[in-house]
Amino acid sequence: MSANQMDAVDADVFGAPAANDRALLIRRILITIGITALVIVLAYWRTGGSELVVTQAIVTGLLVGGVYSLIALGLTLIFGVLHIINFAQGALVTMGMYATYVISSNLGWNPYLTLVVSIPLLFAFGALVQTLIINRSMGEAHENQLLLTLALGLLIENTLLLVFGGNPLSVRTSTETVYNIFGAVATQSRLIAFFGAAFLAVLLFTMLQRTGVGTAIRAVAANPTGAKLVGINVKRIYMITFALGAACAGAAGTLVVPFVSIQPIAGEVFNITAFVVVVLGGLGKVVGAMFGGLIVGLAEQFGGIFFPDQSNLLGVFIVFILILFLRPQGLFASTS
Amino acid sequence: MSQFIEVEKLSKHFRGLAALSNVSFSVDRGEVLGIIGPNGAGKTTLFNCIAGTLPASAGTVEFDGTNVTSWSDIKLANFGLVRTFQLMRPFGSMTVLENVTVAALVRHKDFKEASAIAGKVLVQVGLDHYSYRRSRDLPTAALKRLELARALALEPKALLLDEVLAGLVPAERQPVIDLLKLIRDQGTTLLFVEHVMQAVMQLSDRVLVLNHGEKLALGTPAQVSSNPEVIEAYLGDEVTDARA
């Protein structure tokens, strides 16, 4: 049967690549940085030498890219372990947003504080969804699963629409200090979002590398049958992984609340960017998702520089198309 | 007369592993060549490279006077060189007749004509009573014949049969061997990979022996079966197994 690129699960799924692959990897990262640098130079020229605009694009792009990384981390984790394309990831982000809204507006909490609710809430929800619905479709055709998670996403989105209505809501923090980074403007909320996302991402990565559960997850990702043979409860790992992926989305939702408008469809753009990140970084490659998020964040901003009249997403889609055609297995896959 | 099939120094590497090394042989028109060798000898790889399923790393293949080395499997099949697969690959949701009709449609654009040809092939192969059965519901022996039927519907000049007897119980084998004799008698050149020695000896005009991707021997069945290196290659496997 002709090779389906999606089934090329590499041995070293999450963790550090093998020695001779490391050289290839470094080379690829350097090439990516090189291309990015080239794009920056071109943007500089395009804006007529405006250092400020370019710097702003870099700063904004990296800051929002951090959040994209976190969401994509959840998505790639789910794919790496369950081999499911979770098209509901964006909707889960929206759920996180609304959870924050409900608590902040009813209990007056600082939105960042609601992380202690949104993370466990989305974790539990993810576990529930996986057990009741996703579980039954394990092993089905990828396209069926895509449809299933798509339907799930629609369900979540429209339930939120039904309950909260379509009017944009917002939650803001009491202070919104603006910082100056190399001449570019960075608002406090975006900085917190970035560092919060980065912190959670590193936390998750460490958990995957250092804890028992994390190792079990990586084992199931690499070889489910083997994992079962050594006594790992694979079904439980599936549930935990999906829950973790959902929790990532929920956390990201909370983190962005202070600077986005909360609407049922607010998560859709995060869905798209998360997918691009995951394909860019390589399906199932955790490090790839972290790196890729930054690239996509930059692509969005630079797309805005090169195509000022179009939606920011055009730049993202161009990158998406390029990756799909030139290197669909992503930048971090070890085989070609 | 120039050889019908001419394989010259054919090699295939997979990331440092040499699956085929400098294999050369030729086949006359209408000849039957049996290809044998221990597991992993490179027999299926040889077929893959000749039939265009995989590109060869080096070497040439000439078929009916034309250099077909880099041709795709589609082009080769249309030119008259058809292969079957070891693992059956039916078009599962289609009926047996539809399966063979698809093959016939490749050369005959008219549906009725193709259908008629398919029907005739099914009779020849002994599957006509299964015509309207969905192919994924067929038993193994019938699926093997279906593979053969599809290939025959293309009216091939040469057939590459990959372990057409695999998975058949002894009782099911002789009818298939007889069928292959009929195909041979019609003038089709046959190359077949086989482990069932009785078939190889009965059918082959000559036998090619592969081992570790290299040509080990090429000769009549009698010559090959008394060749000490060939015996060594096969027995070597058995001795190793006995020691393990």
């Binding site: 049967m1 002709s2 389906n4 999606m6 039954r136 990828h142 396209e143 895509l146 449809l147 299933l148 798509l150 339907a151 799930l152 629609l154 369900l155 989105e157 429209n158 339930t159 039904l162 209505g165 859709e268 394909v279 179009q310 939606s311 997403l313 055009l314 889609f317 998406f320 198309i321 799909l324 055609f325 030139l326 669909p328 | 039939a51 399923t53 795709s72 499997d73 589609i74 082009k75 080769l76 099949a77 249309n78 058809v82 697969f85 690959r89 039916p90 078009f91 289609m94 539809e98 399966n99 009709t101 698809v102 449609l105 490749v106 050369r107 654009k109 309207y132 969905r134 599809r150 290939a151």
Partner: protein, 343 residues
């Protein structure tokens, strides 16, 4: 051979396309008097059913029969819709001609992205994601193209009387239904004829086992592209009919993701890879919006807080899809067809 298998063989011997043609003729005859018995609101639902059915038939050809899952079918719908609107509004060219142009452009677009994708060996979900990306890019580009009215969209100029040539009738006219019936029947006919043709049989073979097909000499790339072209062309028809009925089109309505999802829902519910599946699915799905809207206008006392809200219809779609995929993966019609042929 037992008698039950003999029955199966007899059942399959009756060539199924002919049964479909008969069913088509009967269906048309039954439906012709439909608008004479129904009111305006039912007519509106019926039109929506027809539009979604045509879109679903279009999707089904490349994705159901062809196995090439398209996640961006809105592209073809939108190309048809915009071809019709632009040519009518800017150049006074009749919608029928706009439809032909739209079908051609949609087919070309499909072949273009299909060729690129297959050349780069995109399969399965990667291919689906690529189709999604291309549809979204079309939407974004049209959204900011002043030459195509950007985000404003096009209003179809109103005429005062009935015109088949201009595909426009007074509101509530039964002609809309009959026009839709004609278009739908034509699309069903095309799909029946296509599937039973050489191209259709090759397509199914390619879907079942591409390697086996190519080893038998089937020119795989060519016939995949032919299927996509036919699929795209039919999708454009849905777009044209939509534009002429609702008299308005904009980038979101034409190329939006919800349109692509709509194209997938009907066949999935009705039966992927069957002739009638998209129609069955559309008949089930399309009225849902109106039913839920009516429900939400006057909910029972217990659910009074729901009054005036929206989102319930899509929730029901989503639940239906989830149930379908988990328990009836062959869809409603597909499952019935399975059971009948197995008895």
């Amino acid at each position: 051979m037992s008698s039950s298998t003999a029955l199966v063989d007899v059942a399959r011997r009756r060539t199924w396309p002919d049964r479909n043609l008969i069913a088509l003729v009967i269906g048309i005859l039954i439906l012709i008097p439909f608008p004479l018995f129904t009111g305006a609101s039912q007519d509106a639902i019926a039109i929506r059913v027809i539009i979604v059915a045509i879109l679903g038939i279009s999707w089904n050809i490349m994705s159901g029969y062809g196995g090439m899952f398209s996640f961006g079918h809105a592209a073809y719908f939108g190309i048809g819709a915009y071809s019709c609107a632009v040519m009518l509004v800017n150049f006074d060219i009749a919608p029928w001609l706009g439809m032909i142009v739209g079908m051609g452009l949609a087919a070309l677009f499909g072949v273009f992205i299909g060729y690129l994708s297959f050349r780069y060996k995109l399969k399965g979900t990667y291919f689906a994601l690529a189709t999604f990306a291309f549809a979204e890019m079309l939407r974004i580009i049209v959204m900011s193209a002043p030459a195509l009215n950007a985000g404003i969209g096009y209003h179809i100029p109103l005429i005062t009387d009935s015109s088949w040539w201009l595909m426009q009738f007074p509101p509530g006219s039964p002609n809309y239904f009959w026009l839709g019936l004609i278009l739908l029947s034509a699309c069903v006919l095309i799909s029946i004829l296509f599937i039973r043709s050489r191209a259709g049989q090759f397509l199914i073979a390619i879907r079942e086992d591409e390697t086996a097909a190519s080893s038998l000499g089937v020119p795989v790339l060519r016939f995949k592209l032919i299927a996509i072209a036919v699929s795209g062309a039919i999708g454009a028809v849905a777009g044209v009919f939509y534009t002429q009925y609702y008299l308005f089109i904009d980038p979101d309505l034409a190329f939006g993701a919800s349109r692509s999802i709509e194209a997938i829902l009907a066949p999935v519910v009705g039966g992927v890879g069957t002739i009638w599946g998209p129609i069955v699915g559309s008949t089930v799905l399309a009225p849902l919006t109106d039913i839920t809207a009516a429900f939400l206008r006057n909910p029972p006392v217990l659910l009074a807080f729901l009054e005036g809200r929206s989102g319930l219809d899509v929730m029901l779609y989503a639940i239906l899809i989830i149930v379908m995929i988990l328990f009836l993966p062959r869809g409603i019609f597909g499952t019935i067809k399975e059971k009948v042929s197995r008895k």
